[in-house]
């Protein structure tokens, strides 16, 4: 066993040793160790290189605040996880981890040259330097910076694990199972509350897991905690969640918790998810999130071997690991004296306690003196030495405002304590107001925005006795029936003192040579912050973004308050006036897998399929997503690409006939005595004189006058309309209809029902369409005069009830066969079989688009964009001129909506007869312009027309209808394309085929 491992005690299992591997080297550790404690037990402090200067970095802390020890676990294996904290990785036999952000190795990193050149890397370096030439940013600077500064690498393979999510409800959620949290949970449970208690660590107990001196209820504090936790575990109304981080606080007391179920096991239970995301709704929340020890800021404070005093005590008492054999303690608090005493008792040489306070007095300093440890008051640190591990510390003494060198001490670890920063992250996320407490040198929770209360060290009550009472009071108050509660703690605990230090330690007037780090993870030094203040940054939010302090993955847990203090003194204002940057979720990183849960792969989004989907799939259709629908885009035959398939499908429809699945069209049934009035008020068209059995192309505007949706609307009875909408527009059209029906015109007797999925729609289009369906249709006279274009009739087809539309979105003679969805597949197959004698070809949405564009039929959302009026689209003929009002009418009367210079829908033909324009391409009136050029419109639809054997396009062009015959120019990277402006209808402008 290592000399750094104590002979007994702590929470590690002495009987179960294990092997793990770090950067390719095998080490021994004990069950219960973290990766950090396992490395320290082997004397390994160096675990990473810093972000900017590539300086060697060691383990600074023992918990979630760790800024340095970011590692990748299981590199290249299924659970490859980058950027996890060594202080939070629980060891299991065979665990493999590697350090990050070093090249070629951790011991020798060539990026270290950045440190020597650091005079050239001040705050804002990137903003100031990589500005010219502009195009070099993407190709040269950014890739180089990303390589040099990146953290771990994202795994290259899919995450093989399962993640779960669940909701939970409770009366009282307690976050943090330290002394205050346990006391709160006990008090709330005693009062009958349904309690949830969560803690991020592998074991509950918080600071008590490393406590050796204090006693509660007459027993050692840890024994009390374990007993209390056993009591809670035995209460069926209490849920205990270990390894569970409360990472986010959302409105109405909804907290996000991430529970790690499998990460600490060598052989995870395959029946369990790897992690589980809890969304907990609590009537009351008790935040007992504790406090984070603050580092001291002095030159060379980032060498491996320099760590937080409290962390050293945790490693000693909880994990049985000594962080060194000869340590120097630098402190502004009494708490570090206890660390010194514990280490001394464990046989570690404590060379000195350098106390920055002028006169450290009290129980602990007395005890330290009795133990023969030297106390140096009014001390400061002038610098440290050591290559990849601290080997010496230079101490100074502050006297009469002057700093003088005092001593150089050899050591292999420096333990620092600048005081405690309450963990107010969740409180701040809940939008509670923080207030500055000058005596605590800390922001503490003030006015709450949610039903929550903070207890213990997270609100500055760090003394154990007081924290227990604070927790119990909070827990009782957070129970639904406080009167029932009677539990009180009986602490007789030792105290840990307050005080503390903010900002940089005093230095001699001469500029110190080494850097004093404030933010370890982002390599922000005192000089960077001072520079930002000198350069005129006033707001802490701006300083943060300029220097990047507090912006790393640790979110400034150890650095924010020191940075704030340095900025405040640079600006010459009190800290309370500088304010604090916003705390954002997550408290610590949460894997994307947890947020995604089961919403992955096929379950990522629901899929809507038509009744004919499987038929199309069996025939090799290529599908496209339209909203959530899968639509067949084209049906390629052997050897065909999309262009060839679409050309063949187009020719078939124009020369014989085609069959097309139009089921996805939105359908809304508008029914009632006032259905006509309702439609009149909503759509631009006049519906009063539409006869039963006839349909009309309807246009729906928003109140601002712009086209919102369109579709064929049939009157199927005196009081009934069958309204079709665009595929994607159905939900929003129904929502808009419901809005007007419920809130503006509640007196109208009208009911709205979505029938999109009740009908399967089979479009049969082409000159042979009538011949194909005639033998199948019963009870409808299909003659051209009996059932003219836009007529609608009820009958039967293949034994199914039929609503037959004679409509066309192709410009050919066409029918849309509507049958109940369950009949869709059989009717489709029957029609397709019947069509084979007549040259019937199945076609997809791409062909549908080409055919409709040849006819100048618009697609709302493609040829319109929310700024297009009916007149812009050439559709003013549809407007019911005699109507006094309809939605959008008043807006159409505004002068600017009638301006002749508005963009209008026109056709475009490439002058060269072969270039298919890009959809979205811009259009210029004059040739040969250089940017910035004057542009007068853009291409909205563009295809190759097989029927016409030349490309066609639709475009919105300013004053387009006055430009017919003109030549316009489409500037593209490969040169300018000349186009001729044409009417938007390219094919059969008189509509003779339609009315056949």
């Amino acid at each position: 066993m290592s000399v750094l491992r104590t002979p007994g005690g702590g929470r590690v299992d002495r009987e179960r040793s294990l092997q793990f591997n770090f950067d390719g080297k095998a080490y021994a550790a004990l069950q219960g160790d973290t990766l950090a404690s396992g490395l320290l037990a082997n004397g390994v402090h160096l675990v990473g290189r810093s972000f900017k200067y590539h300086r060697p970095r060691g383990i600074l802390s023992a918990g979630a605040e760790e800024p340095n020890a970011l590692v990748t676990v299981n590199p290249g294996a299924p659970r490859d996880t980058p950027n996890v904290l060594a202080t939070q990785v629980e060891l299991y036999p065979g665990l493999r981890a590697i350090s990050q952000h070093r090249w070629p190795s951790l011991q020798y990193d060539v990026g270290r040259v950045n440190d020597a050149l650091s005079a050239f890397f001040p705050a804002g370096f990137y903003y100031k330097t990589f500005k010219w030439p502009q195009r070099a940013w993407k190709s040269v600077y950014e890739p180089a910076i990303r390589r040099a500064a990146g953290l771990g690498r994202a795994p290259a393979t899919a995450d093989p694990d399962r993640y779960a999510q669940r909701y939970a409800h409770c009366d009282t959620l307690v976050v943090g199972a330290g002394p205050a949290g346990i006391a709160a949970a006990l008090a709330a449970a005693d009062a009958g509350a349904r309690v949830m208690l969560c803690d991020e660590q592998s074991e509950m107990g918080g600071s008590l897991l490393a406590e050796t001196m204090a006693r509660i209820d007459g027993v050692p504090a840890l024994d009390w905690a374990l007993r209390a936790l056993a009591t809670l575990a035995g209460n069926p109304r209490v849920t205990l969640l270990t390894r569970t981080t409360a990472f986010g606080y959302f409105p109405h007391n909804l907290l996000g918790l991430n529970q790690r179920l499998g990460d600490h096991r060598a052989d995870p239970d395959p029946g369990q998810p790897r992690q589980r995301l809890w969304m907990v709704r609590a009537r009351q929340v008790v935040l007992a999130t504790g406090a984070i020890e603050r580092p001291l800021v002095f030159p060379g404070n980032d060498r491996p071997g320099i760590l937080l005093a409290g962390a050293a005590r945790t490693y000693l008492n909880r994990y049985g690991v000594k962080v060194g054999v000869r340590v120097v303690v630098v402190t502004a608090t009494d708490a570090a004296y206890q660390t010194a005493l514990d280490l001394h008792a464990a046989g570690v040489a404590v060379a000195a306690i350098a106390d920055v306070r002028a006169q450290p007095v009290g129980v602990l300093p007395d005890a330290v003196s009795r133990a023969g440890i030297e106390i140096m008051p009014a001390a400061t640190v002038l610098g440290t030495r050591g290559d990849r591990r601290v080997s010496e510390i230079s101490l100074g003494r502050v006297q009469g405002g002057m700093v003088r060198p005092a001593a150089r001490l050899a050591c292999d670890a420096v333990l620092m304590s600048g005081g405690y920063t309450p963990s107010v992250h969740l409180f701040s996320q809940s939008r509670g107001k923080l207030v500055w407490n000058e005596s605590l040198l800390a922001f503490v929770p003030g006015l709450s925005a949610e039903c929550e209360r903070s207890a213990g060290a997270c609100r500055g009550v760090g003394d154990l006795t007081a924290a227990l009472e604070d927790g119990a009071a909070a827990g009782l108050a957070a129970a639904p029936d406080p009167v029932r509660g009677s539990w009180r703690p009986l602490p007789e605990a030792g105290t840990t003192g307050g005080c503390g230090w903010l900002g940089a330690l005093p230095q001699p007037q001469t500029t110190a040579t080494d850097k004093a780090f404030v933010d370890w993870q982002h390599d922000v030094t005192t000089r960077d912050l001072a520079l930002a203040a000198r350069e005129g940054f006033r707001s802490i939010e701006h300083v943060k973004r300029y220097t990047t302090t507090g912006m790393a993955t640790d979110q400034g847990k150890t650095s924010n308050l020191n940075a704030l203090s340095i900025v405040a003194s640079g600006l010459g204002v009190p800290i309370s006036q500088v304010g604090l940057t916003t705390f954002r979720m997550p408290y610590t990183p949460v894997p994307f897998g947890s947020f995604a849960g089961t919403s992955r792969g096929a379950l990522f989004d629901p899929v809507r399929r038509t009744p004919m989907h499987h038929w199309a799939q069996a025939r090799g259709a290529v599908f496209e997503n339209v909203g959530l629908w899968k639509r067949a885009r084209y049906f390629p035959r052997a050897g065909e690409d999309m262009h060839a398939a679409v050309a063949r499908e187009c020719r078939a429809v124009r020369s014989a006939c085609g069959i097309f699945d139009a089921t996805t069209l939105g359908k809304i049934e508008v029914v009632g005595a006032d259905a006509v009035e309702f439609m009149n008020r909503l759509y631009v068209n006049s519906w009063t004189n539409l006869a039963v059995g006839r349909s009309r192309y309807g246009i729906l505007l928003r109140e601002d006058g712009f086209v919102y949706d369109d579709g064929v609307v049939a009157r199927t009875a005196a009081d009934r309309f069958h309204v079709t909408t665009t595929t994607g527009g159905a939900p929003r059209v129904l929502a808009m209809m419901e809005d007007y029906r419920q809130t503006e015109w509640p007196q109208l007797k009208v009911w709205l029902t979505s029938t999109t999925e009740q009908w399967a729609v089979i479009a049969v289009q082409g000159p042979n369409a009538r011949r194909v369906i005639a033998p199948l249709v019963e009870g409808i006279d299909l003659g051209a005069s009996a059932l003219p274009h836009m007529a609608v009739a009820r009958g039967r087809i293949c034994g199914a009830p039929l609503l037959l539309f004679r409509v066309s979105f192709t410009g050919e003679l066409g029918y849309e066969i509507n049958v109940p969805a369950d009949f869709g597949a059989t009717v489709w197959e029957a029609v397709h079989a019947a069509g084979q004698a007549h040259g019937m070809t199945v076609y997809g949405t791409e062909t549908m688009h080409v055919l409709r564009a040849e006819k100048g039929y618009i697609i709302v959302g493609q040829d319109t964009d929310g700024t297009v009026t009916p007149d812009d689209a050439g559709l003013s003929w549809a407007i019911g001129k005699s109507k006094a009002d309809f939605v959008g009418k008043r807006s159409l009367e505004r002068a600017s909506m009638r301006a002749p210079t508005r963009k209008q829908l026109v056709g475009l033909r490439s002058r060269d007869g072969r270039t298919v324009l890009d959809e979205g391409a811009q259009i210029a009136a004059l040739p040969g312009q250089q940017p910035p050029m004057q542009l007068i419109g853009h291409v909205t639809s563009s295809y190759y027309s097989a029927a016409l054997d030349h490309p066609i396009a639709l475009a919105l062009v300013a004053g387009g209808r006055t430009r017919l015959g003109q030549t316009l120019y489409v500037p593209m990277p490969r040169g300018e394309i000349e186009v001729e402006v044409t009417p938007p209808v390219f094919y059969d402008p008189k509509g003779e085929r339609l009315n056949a």
């Binding site: 409105p251 109405h252 939008r431 039903c451 809130t743």
Partner: protein, 101 residues
Amino acid sequence: MLIIVCPFCGKRPEIEFTYGGQAHITRPERPSELDDQAWAEFLYMRSNTKGIHAERWRHARGCGRFFNALRDTTTDHFVATYRIDEPQPQIEQPAEPVPPP
């Protein structure tokens, strides 16, 4: 995620609802009689309240009904919900946080 009390269905999670903009704005009876200024007022002008704001919500993935709500824009908390044919309740900003509904 908020809990919203639908006046017809009771407490439901926020994902069942859609937002419908500011409440108590009535479409003019005869829009054609309004001048451009008055029409623009109706169409575009909305208050940007800090504090209690009356707004429309729809229980789109539930009963489908529109209703009105008073929401504190500083906390996101709903203070009251009521049917669209009911007058706006006179409720002040709560002095202390209230538990979720």
